[in-house]
């Protein structure tokens, strides 16, 4: 990895490859995400988005390639990389029998956040996400949106520098989706880097500074919305038009 750890970059992926049997899920993927930006990773189902993020978060071992998170070689020192990463999958990772408060205490314990700091942060996040009144209720009684918000609070409690979210808005009603989007925008303003995958192109169009389109495990195109429009040859084309044109062309 010749340029791993370049200052100002949150994530470098070089020739990242993952196979499941004969199927190549991620195919020598090169990707750079800048520090402090919100990067949207788009692509059809099975394109390799989730597999890529799972490799970055240390849940899957790549078959080849390199991963660098804020200059840390995530394959050589996964523990150090995990300390500054948060991973939020589309299905909330919760314990039904724990209360929201206990869940956050547990996550803080896993990430080694000091108790006092974690307490203050948990209160702030739960208030921000309208979960404060439900803090002592077990997650088993929560709605899908409440579970997603609790899971998001858990992802943020250790103040990660790189937050990766897989379809964070799936199944959320408009009000909760708005809360989540506002929180993510605020985190980016505070300097965090966010990578999110989504099938809701409007979200990527409005929130992301740069967008990457992935198909068959390869990056088809990348850039700002204007740059992608330029590539697609349409001046005022919507992201949907650009996406469909690129993905259609990608086979």
């Amino acid at each position: 990895m010749d340029d791993a750890g370049v200052s100002g970059d949150a994530l470098h992926l070089r020739a990242l490859t993952k196979r499941f049997g004969d199927k190549v899920a991620v195919d020598a993927l090169d990707l750079d995400v800048r520090a402090g930006e919100l990067y949207a990773l788009l692509g059809p189902n099975g394109a390799g988005k989730t597999t890529t993020l799972r490799m970055v978060s240390g849940l899957l071992k790549p078959d080849a390639g390199a991963i660098s998170v804020f200059g840390i070689d995530a394959l050589a020192d996964p523990i150090a990389a995990k300390r500054i990463i948060a991973w939020l999958p589309d299905e909330p990772m919760l314990y039904d029998k724990l209360t929201a408060w206990e869940y956050l205490e547990f996550i803080a314990g896993l990430w080694g956040v000091a108790a006092k700091q974690a307490h203050a942060r948990a209160e702030e996040l739960l208030r921000l996400l309208d979960l404060w009144d439900h803090r002592n209720e077990r997650c088993e009684g929560f709605s899908r949106g409440m579970k997603q918000k609790t899971s998001l609070a858990g992802a943020l409690i250790h103040d990660p520098k790189l937050l990766m979210l897989d379809e964070p808005l799936t199944g959320l009603d408009a009000a909760i989706a708005r809360q989540v989007k506002d929180l993510l925008s605020a985190r980016v303003r505070e300097g965090a880097t966010i990578i999110l995958t989504t099938h809701i192109l409007e979200v990527a169009e409005r929130m992301a500074e740069r967008i990457g389109i992935i198909q068959h495990g390869k990056l088809l195109a990348e850039g700002t919305l204007a740059e992608l429009r330029g590539r697609a040859g349409g001046g005022q084309a919507s992201l949907e038009d650009v996406y469909l044109q690129l993905v259609g062309a990608g086979g």
Partner: protein, 511 residues
């Protein structure tokens, strides 16, 4: 085969779902499983033939004793069926999640409900009908056996009656404690009834040998007095089972009518407010406004998380408690022998071995729950922790409560013989550590709901190995406490060797 949308077509759909649910619990697939089922079926038929032959010699006579025995059997059976019916009613109405789909279809709601309830009645009776069926098919060919043919239809009718009662009870329980708690309570009831039956069959072991005849006589007299009244209405199911045509007809028609009535009663307005019934729950709890301070520490976070999850799952706790109950007869036998033969080293050795076996059984159950049945494995894997540290904490979470529980027998042994207490502590420690290590090395990932099926899903070799290791520690402790420490070297070596072999044979770790 049946017209789409017809009651029989729907029933076929229900039975297919039931069959697939049962199949998904089983690990074996493909031609091997067919051979296994054929073998089991053949074996069942063989046992059935033998039982039918025995029955053909005994004429089904209506006596206070036969009425009492059959009524008691039906009472026990109906309790087991009731808990199964409650669990299945909750699943069918609230857990499977396909009721909305069916009710949104143009099929009449009453048909959907009656088919679903009939499927429950059949499923509830299926296990017992399979057992009885293996006998029943032989009865016509066994001379006097034909007189016992009322047995299977009586049990089927009983399942209709019990499912009907189950609907009334379910509705009341849904309103009082909510569907989720109804399911848990029903499963606990099933376990408790099973354990009670098991213990009842073991009671004779508690009684000193010379008193057994007298105690059995008293029990039979009490039974015939309470349940053996042939003229009573309560004797109807027993008379039906004994093949009295009139009683059999009345029993089948009565149970069928009651079932239809209960379905009608349950179904009134059901399609309109199924969700409303579900939301009744146990009433809304008062909001808990406490703000508890966070406590620091990774090990504490991991261990307390596991303990909280265990303590808040009454079903799991009851299943673990059942393991204790099933070991009780062993202690009863030892206790009786102690009473009869005094307090010898051999008896203390037996007790010690039993305690080691108990602690290892419990530790292996808890270790499976903490290690393999992790609810959020990705969360743990994404945390900045070495895997070994997490596994160590989980092993502590599983082993510590058992070790604490076992302090009692160790303290007891200390009063009798300090050396015995030392051996016992060592044996318990070794067994708990082995159980936890094997649970870590040979993980069988699954959900907590699969607790009872966990052995069927894992490697047979690892399960066998674990069993031998744990029995080895038990035997070694027993021998050492009994004053044969040299003899205990053999089981110790077997346990240690197998533990090492299980370590070597552990599956290659995933990323």
């Amino acid at each position: 085969m049946f017209a789409p949308g017809s009651a029989l077509w729907l029933l076929g759909h229900e039975m297919r779902l039931g069959w697939r649910g049962w199949r998904s619990a089983s690990k074996s697939r493909g031609p091997g499983s067919i051979v296994l089922y054929l073998f089991l079926g053949g074996f069942l038929l063989f046992i059935g033939c033998w039982a039918a032959r025995g029955l053909s010699y005994a004429a089904p006579e209506v006596t206070p004793l036969s009425i009492g025995m059959i009524t008691l059997a039906f009472l026990v059976l109906s309790t087991l069926m009731l808990s199964a019916a409650l669990v299945q009613t909750t699943d069918a109405l609230y857990q499977r999640g396909d009721l909305d789909l069916l009710l949104a279809s143009p099929l009449p709601p009453w048909r959907i409900l009656i088919v679903r309830m009939s499927a429950i009645a059949i499923n509830v009776a299926l296990f017992y009908l399979l057992l009885l069926g293996a006998i029943w098919v032989w009865l016509p060919f066994m001379g006097g056996g034909a007189r016992w043919m009322g047995l299977a239809p009586s049990v089927l009718a009983l399942s209709l009656l019990v499912t009907g009662i189950g609907l009334f009870v379910a509705r009341a329980m849904f309103a009082l404690i909510g569907p989720r708690n109804t399911r848990v309570a029903s499963q606990i009831l099933a376990g408790a009834v099973g354990a009670a039956i098991f213990l009842a069959f073991q009671t004779q072991n508690l009684v000193p040998r010379e008193d057994r005849g007298r105690v059995m006589g008293d029990a039979i007299a009490a039974l015939t007095q309470a349940l053996g009244q042939p003229e009573s209405l309560f004797a109807l199911p027993a008379r039906a089972a004994l093949g009295e045509p009139l009683a059999l007809g009345a029993w089948i028609v009565g149970c069928g009518l009651f079932f239809m009535f209960s379905v009608w009663w349950f179904g009134r307005g059901f399609s309109a407010n199924a969700a409303a019934i579900a939301s009744l729950g146990g009433g809304r709890k008062r909001a808990d406004t406490r703000v508890r301070e966070f406590r620091p520490g990774l090990a504490r976070a991991l261990v307390f998380k596991e303990w909280r999850l265990l303590a808040r799952d009454p079903l799991l706790l009851s299943q673990i408690a059942l393991q204790l109950i099933y070991l009780l007869p062993l202690f009863f036998i030892f206790a009786r022998d102690l009473g009869e033969e005094g307090f010898g080293r051999a008896q203390i050795g037996l007790f010690s071995g039993a305690f080691v076996l108990l602690s290892s059984t419990l530790a292996s159950s808890l270790a499976w729950l903490t290690v393999s049945a992790e609810d959020a494995p990705d969360l743990i894997a994404a945390a900045p922790l070495p895997r070994e540290q997490v596994e160590r904490a989980k092993a502590v979470a599983a082993g510590a409560p058992i070790a604490a529980l076992m302090l009692l027998p160790i303290a007891g042994a200390l009063f009798i013989d300090p050396m015995a207490a030392l051996w016992l502590a060592g044996g318990i420690g070794a067994a708990i550590i082995s159980a936890c290590l094997i649970a870590i090395w040979h993980q069988v990932p699954g959900s907590r709901r699969d607790f009872r099926r966990r052995r069927a899903q894992g490697s047979f070799g690892a399960a066998m190995g674990q069993g031998i290791v744990l029995m080895g520690w038990s035997a070694a402790t027993g021998l050492a406490v009994a004053g044969l420490p040299l003899a205990s070297i053999i089981p110790v070596l077997i346990s240690l060797g197998l533990t090492l072999a299980l370590n070597e044979s552990r599956p290659k770790e995933q990323a």
